[in-house]
Symmetry: C2
Subunit: 408 residues, 2 copies
């Protein structure tokens, strides 16, 4: 039996980053940058005012106070988006709004709350030392800085940064096309009533949602019944895919049909991976397209997709981080026995007085779909003897990447 | 000056849950349930096998071992998706596949790894006590259980659960339409070169992405220049919106134009909120549509959207949790002075040996757009004297909800 690491290494060796394409900036949300986005100019681009107030020469404000105001001539104004044409001469002030460029001659801004004004004059009620209320070029970003690195995902903050620097369109990695096929006579498709002995199909809908969340484009192929011609026809539709995900039919001995078709057209390896849930996993290629065969149990399908399918997609996307972040958490709840397979326990994280605690989401059987709901982490219970006890530190995969990732 | 709580309370009082609509299950990802999804049947629906193996009567397997196997007649088979027509009689076994319904008469399954078979017979090499390898109805979900409560967001796990229970279509809350308008002569739109004194517009693209992430439908209105007729025309386009977001023009004294139009057609209140960044916030209604005026500084716009705009959207969606979860974290980095306004410090969280630590993302000026990137939390530095020191516990808003929320 392979370890989880061995299986993942063999799978990921078959994938590499896909081609890039240019998209308009607003369409880049959720996409992954294919190259570093580099600032072509500094941000701010010019020295500007942080306040609504008056641009002055700091020496004109020296010693100013409410008791001893300094009286200056109001020489003009500079609204945001304009440039003051003249120069602020000694004894002069220029009305300035937030974000407007500092006029020549001035070296400080006094906010309007500390002034009094009338027709053609302004009185400074406080000092305005050089640099007061000013923002200088490059304080945010310097020309040549990497704004967002290749392999980073674009979210709202990245959009703000890229828009501020005028990066548009944006070069992102093409979205992998992932074909999703459920197999088995026991499956009733969405919207149909199961016959006796059947169950409602859930892996297809689950994987469609999970594949999209991973950043790929799902290509749903529906359900293939256990008949050679139907399976062959469905797989034919996956020719253009970058990855085929199947679920079901990979446990002992009941896969002959699929195996037969796959060996005709490609190669397929069945593995047993030392993990729980999700022991049986198939991997191979079909007419050159990688195929990952997930188990049929819903929880097993979800966990093996997390451990093998999502990293394959993230590798095709060229993500900086293809795996979920792993952090240390403190187990809250019943003790968990170790076994000869690595156990991935669905858990919900919480913070108690700054400590990160994990509560398993109930019955961990591979048919307990409700255990997926509310899980924000997979606790990693390593192979071995004994048990992990409440209060012990445990590594956990963060299912929505929320904690430590971000700026790299 | 209002506190953050007072401002939020006044804003949220103007919103309530929107109408519901039915969508096909696969389209429900990212939507919010408008009513409890209740299981109409138990899951599993019938007693079934957890393994590929043989359905037997447990008394026939009593005392079986590799040394003393029990020999049974192979009476038939039940693949997944079928029902065995007969009854398993004493001395008989029936081949059964994972997920197939347990045949009448049998009360246990022995996995095939613990058997030997030949034509018409099977030998049990181990005992199979009653209930062995069986999954019973309702182990996952019982009829009448709430699968997913009203107000919960639908993710892949919810999709799996709803599909398994045959909930399709799904009743979700209509997506709020949020009009987004940036104001100011200083803004160069995406794709245009800024004139001297101009900056590139980033709040519009940011808010479009953030509004979509919050679950609403953004309606981009572009940039309104500081001319009455242009502003009036843009706002006219927002008539059908559930919320209008503007950015810019809410600082002291430079808002007369907008104020004039708004007071003509509705009501508008300008507030100063005791917070940093983001002091100036406007709120009112325009021809009956709520309008939230955010500050123009990109960081201020982002933080005030988080604190006031997103909760308004989540209230319209009927979310169980309209606010970001707040957890306690430990400050890592420089001490932060308290002031007379509540300070929201962008920070990145990490877990160190089970402790949740927060590292501020650099310069916290309201023009430092790069401080948004990589932030996974807003540290809440309460008003007051003194400072928060490295190692102190601080409350933090989790920007992507990852930690404690989930199953409720």
């Amino acid at each position: 039996m392979l370890t989880v690491e061995e299986a993942r290494e063999r799978i990921l060796a078959r994938f590499s980053r896909l081609n890039a394409e240019d998209v308009p900036l607003p369409a880049a949300v959720g996409r992954v940058l294919a190259m570093d986005a580099v600032a072509g100019e500094s941000l701010p681009r010019f020295t500007n005012s942080a306040m609504d107030g008056y641009a002055v020469r700091s020496e004109d404000a020296r010693g100013a106070s409410a008791e001893a105001p300094r009286h200056l001539r109001l020489a003009g104004e500079v609204p945001a988006g304009r440039v003051y044409e003249g120069t602020v001469e000694p004894g002069e002030a220029v009305r300035i709004l937030t974000g407007a460029p500092l006029p020549d001659g001035a070296d400080a801004v006094l906010q309007q709350e500390l002034t009094e004004t009338g027709a053609g004059w302004v009185r400074l009620l406080a000092e305005a030392p050089a640099g007061n209320n000013l923002r200088y070029p490059g304080e945010d970003v310097r020309e040549g800085d990497v704004l967002v690195p290749a392999g980073a995902e674009v979210g709202p903050a990245e959009i703000a940064l890229l828009a501020s620097a005028g990066i548009h369109p944006v070069r992102v990695t093409r979205r992998p096309r992932v074909a999703i096929l459920s197999t088995g006579d026991e499956l009733a498709p969405l919207g149909e009533t199961p016959r006796p002995g059947q169950i409602r199909e859930s892996n297809g809908p689950y994987l469609i949602a999970a594949v999209a969340r991973a950043g790929a484009e799902p290509v749903p192929l529906g359900i293939a019944r256990d008949r050679a011609e139907e399976l062959r026809a469905k797989l034919e539709q996956a020719r253009e895919a970058d990855l085929i995900l199947t679920s079901g039919g990979v446990s002992v001995g009941d896969y002959d049909l699929v195996k037969q078709i796959l060996t005709e057209q490609g190669d397929i390896t069945f593995w047993r991976v030392r993990m729980r849930p999700g022991k049986p996993v198939a991997f191979g290629t079909l007419s050159g397209t990688p195929l990952l065969g997930l188990p049929g149990n819903p929880v097993s399908a979800a966990v093996t997709f997390e451990l093998f399918g999502r990293p394959a997609i993230r590798t095709m996307l060229g993500c900086r981080q293809t795996e979920r972040p792993v952090v240390e958490v403190v187990l809250d709840g019943q003790n968990i026995a170790r076994g000869d397979r690595r156990h991935f326990v669905r858990a919900r994280l919480d913070s108690r007085n700054g400590t990160l605690v994990a509560m398993p989401t109930g019955d961990q059987g591979s048919h307990i779909i409700s255990s997926l709901r509310g899980a924000t982490a997979l606790l990693v219970i390593l192979e071995g003897e004994g048990q992990v006890c409440a209060g012990d530190h445990v590594p956990a995969l963060l299912l929505n990447d929320a904690l430590p990732w971000g700026m790299e």
